[in-house]
């Protein structure tokens, strides 16, 4: 391999992929906000944004512009440095996670693989990086030097730490079945088994998805920013562009959780029933599109839940996390290992 090939393989191709993914993701997040507003509007028998463009199609752009041209207020008593970088700490991990999430099979994209990189600890990487995002919230609430944000930050610390534990155990169920930490391998395994892991590990999926909702601070677990209790929670003092970074991070996390759910439990880029030849016509839809369709379904569920359920109280949330999700996930791990050991 000469120097040019190395340069192309290890710098140019990944960089192009990163650029494309970041582009798609940013656009996706922008339009996810529109989707959310439209779907919720639909649930609530109203129209949602209608003024900017056809049926509000340009609304995200208008919103983005508004955020950018707003005044950037930093409270006088805030810790300026931390206050400034906290939103970025929240945002960056949300994007970094997508480095290992596979959108297509390894032989797609002219043999370069439908992902930025396939590392053998992919899943661990996702869990590790996404928990860094919590820091941004804690620091943001702390640095505001104000009471409501502090309460919000305290809540989010407790909430995210406890839900991460249950989520980790839920993921172990999948690991046991897949025998690999690489996300690509996990999807491949689902192909060879001919079965999505959801059918093998339904409990694990339910725990994972519920914890995912808590991780992303969405209703019914949106306590860190419970607007009717803590005004804005950790981002009370944030405005303008910095606020929008938190906002983007939340939506990026929604996409992360959905993508991971799809990858781990619903066969990633695979079509339904990947080994049934009679359904081969489904292959007309390319793998990345399958992936997108599945992710959109999960995003829709996120929005649907928000439109339907009230909010938990803080202590109830903790109870559910530690007393329900964690034991269930642990029991699932034990049962799965026992079954694997005795029958396979």
């Amino acid at each position: 391999m000469n120097a040019w090939q190395i340069l192309i393989n290890y710098a140019v191709i990944p960089l192009v992929k990163i650029a494309v993914i970041v582009g798609i993701l940013s656009g996706g997040i922008a339009y996810l906000t529109l989707l959310e507003r439209k779907v919720i509007a639909r649930l609530q028998q109203r129209l949602g944004p209608m003024r900017v463009g056809w049926h509000g199609i340009l609304q995200p752009i208008a919103d983005g512009l508004k955020f950018i041209i707003k005044e950037d207020v930093i409270p006088l008593k805030a810790d300026k440095f931390v206050f400034t970088i906290a939103p970025a700490i929240s945002l960056i991990p949300a994007f970094v996670v997508f480095a290992v999430i596979p959108f297509g099979p390894p032989d797609s994209l002219w043999g370069t693989g439908g992902y930025v990189t396939d590392i053998n600890i992919g899943l661990l990487f996702v869990v590790a990086v996404s928990s860094v995002g919590v820091l941004g919230i804690i620091l943001g609430g702390w640095a505001s030097n104000s009471k409501y944000p502090l309460l919000g930050a305290l809540r989010s610390t407790a909430q995210m730490v406890s839900y991460e534990v249950a989520m980790g155990f839920a993921i172990i169920g999948v690991l046991l079945v897949a025998n690999s930490l690489s996300l690509v391998d996990i999807v491949q395994k689902q192909k060879t088994m001919g079965l999505w892991f959801f059918f093998v590990q339904p409990v694990s999926f339910l725990v994972y998805y519920a914890c995912g909702m808590a991780e992303t601070n969405r209703l019914p677990f949106d306590l860190p920013e419970a607007e009717t209790e803590l005004v804005g929670g950790f981002h009370t003092e944030y405005s303008g562009f910095r606020f929008s970074l938190y906002f983007i991070a939340e939506y990026a996390n929604m996409i992360t959780v959905s993508s991971l759910a799809v990858t781990l439990f619903f066969g990633g880029w695979l079509r339904p029933f990947p080994n049934v030849a009679a359904l081969a016509f489904l292959d007309l839809i390319p793998p990345p599109l399958w992936f997108t369709i599945k992710v959109l379904t999960f995003l829709y569920v996120f929005i649907w839940v928000r439109g339907t359920l009230p909010r938990f109280r803080f202590d109830q949330l903790m109870n559910i996390g530690w007393k329900v999700f964690l034991p269930v996930a642990m029991a699932n791990v034990i049962v799965t290992s026992a079954v694997l050991l005795s029958f396979l």
Binding site: Q44, K147, T228, E229, L309, P310, R311, R313, F314, D315
Partner: protein
């Protein structure tokens, strides 16, 4: 001078204090107006709470002393601005009682019907905001959808939607518009299904139950001691409703039940109010079918000069017993007009109810008391 239970706010730094004093309001999204609550909290647990009110004080009672009785009516639109019709009814009936004016039955029926519409509208607004405070945002818009229909009916008959100036002393400004009863019937027939819809989203919802059961419990004795009225009293199981206890307008003619709670918690108060909406709808249907014909004006004198004396009249507003105590010296304006505002008195219970609960419950409890700051501060 109000007793200051916490000392000056801001004396201690956040870091050193185990107990934190936070200010909820007057610009807080869920204190329903300009209520300010100073909370003393330990972590998330509320140790003590103090209401600071008066941000919306406009001196209604004093203004009324300088207005004639006729001119005074619209001022009461603006005390409990969510239930203007009920407020008007209380004042107008009190003045009629002073004058000894007989009001024709058609007027009584229209008044009863519109007051019940107002009760539904007020409860809908309560349900909407209460649910929103607890995080169920869809109920908010569903409830507003029906409230909008009621406001349209109000507009058709009174010409305004919020500050209505509904009734005149001795009768009504004008008769019901053509086709109005049909519109009412249409709304009324469909309303049960809508209430079922709200209940479907909340009543058996696990999260809703956990958020409202055993929150802000008030026993029957405590409720009486705090002189609570309206749904907060009935939620504790005390059967007192002015409509039954001292019937006014045309309430004696109708069949309706007074829903009662058992535990006196937020959930029971929720159930009481939802059931009250159904009962109000029942009254409206009876009004529509039995609406008498006849005059819409009684024999009220042109210049209103009630005889010297003190008068009290109370009605069951959507939020509790709404009373008017008027002292007349025989002139054209009252010597003194004191309102018994239900929410002002119900708000007293807040401190007792929130102690020991979490910050999130404070919001639920403020919601369950159904306060309107326009009335609290007057």
């Amino acid at each position: 001078m109000q007793e200051d239970i916490f000392g000056a706010i801001g004396e201690e730094t956040i870091l050193d204090a185990n107990q934190l004093t936070i200010n909820m309001g007057p610009q807080h999204p869920s204190t329903h107006g300009v209520l300010r609550v100073r909370l003393k909290i330990d972590g998330e647990r509320v140790i003590d709470a103090e209401c600071v009110i008066g941000y919306l004080h406009r001196g209604t009672e004093k203004i009324v002393e300088n207005r004639t009785y006729t001119m005074a009516v619209p001022y009461f639109d603006r005390t409990d601005y969510i239930a203007a019709v009920s407020n008007n009814l209380g004042f107008v009936e009190c003045v009629e009682k002073m004058l000894g004016v007989e009001v024709p039955p058609r007027v009584q029926y229209i008044r009863t019907m519109m007051t019940e519409f107002q009760r539904i509208a007020s409860h809908l607004l309560w349900l909407a905001t209460h649910a929103l405070d607890i995080g169920a945002m869809t109920v908010f818009l569903y409830a507003f959808r029906e409230r909008e229909e009621i406001l349209k009916l109000m507009e058709a008959v009174f010409g305004a939607r919020l500050t209505i100036h509904a009734f005149r002393i001795g009768g009504l400004w004008q008769d019901l518009p053509h086709g109005f009863l049909d519109a009412c019937r249409k709304f009324s027939d469909g309303f049960e299904a809508h209430v079922d819809e709200y209940e479907g989203l909340l009543t058996n919802n696990r999260i809703w139950l956990e958020r409202t059961k055993n929150i802000g419990v008030v026993s029957a004795e405590e409720a009486i001691d705090l002189s609570l009225t309206g749904p907060p009293l009935r939620g504790s199981g005390v059967n007192y409703d002015v409509r039954k206890a001292r019937p006014y307008a045309a309430y004696a003619d109708f069949d309706f039940d007074i829903p009662l709670g058992v535990h006196g918690d937020t959930y029971d108060r929720y159930l009481v109010r939802v059931e009250e909406m159904r009962q109000s709808n029942r009254i409206i249907q009876q009004c529509i079918t039995r609406m008498p014909s006849g005059s819409i004006r009684g024999k009220a004198p042109r210049v209103i000069k009630p005889p010297v004396g003190e008068y009290f009249h109370s009605v069951e507003g959507p939020k509790g017993e709404l009373g008017y105590y008027i002292v007349s010296e025989g002139g054209t304006s009252p010597y003194r007009c004191r309102i018994r505002p239900p929410t002002f008195i119900n708000l007293q219970a807040l401190r007792k109810m929130v102690k020991g609960h979490l910050v999130a419950d404070v919001v639920a409890i403020i919601g369950t008391l159904d306060i309107v700051l326009g009335e609290v501060d007057r």
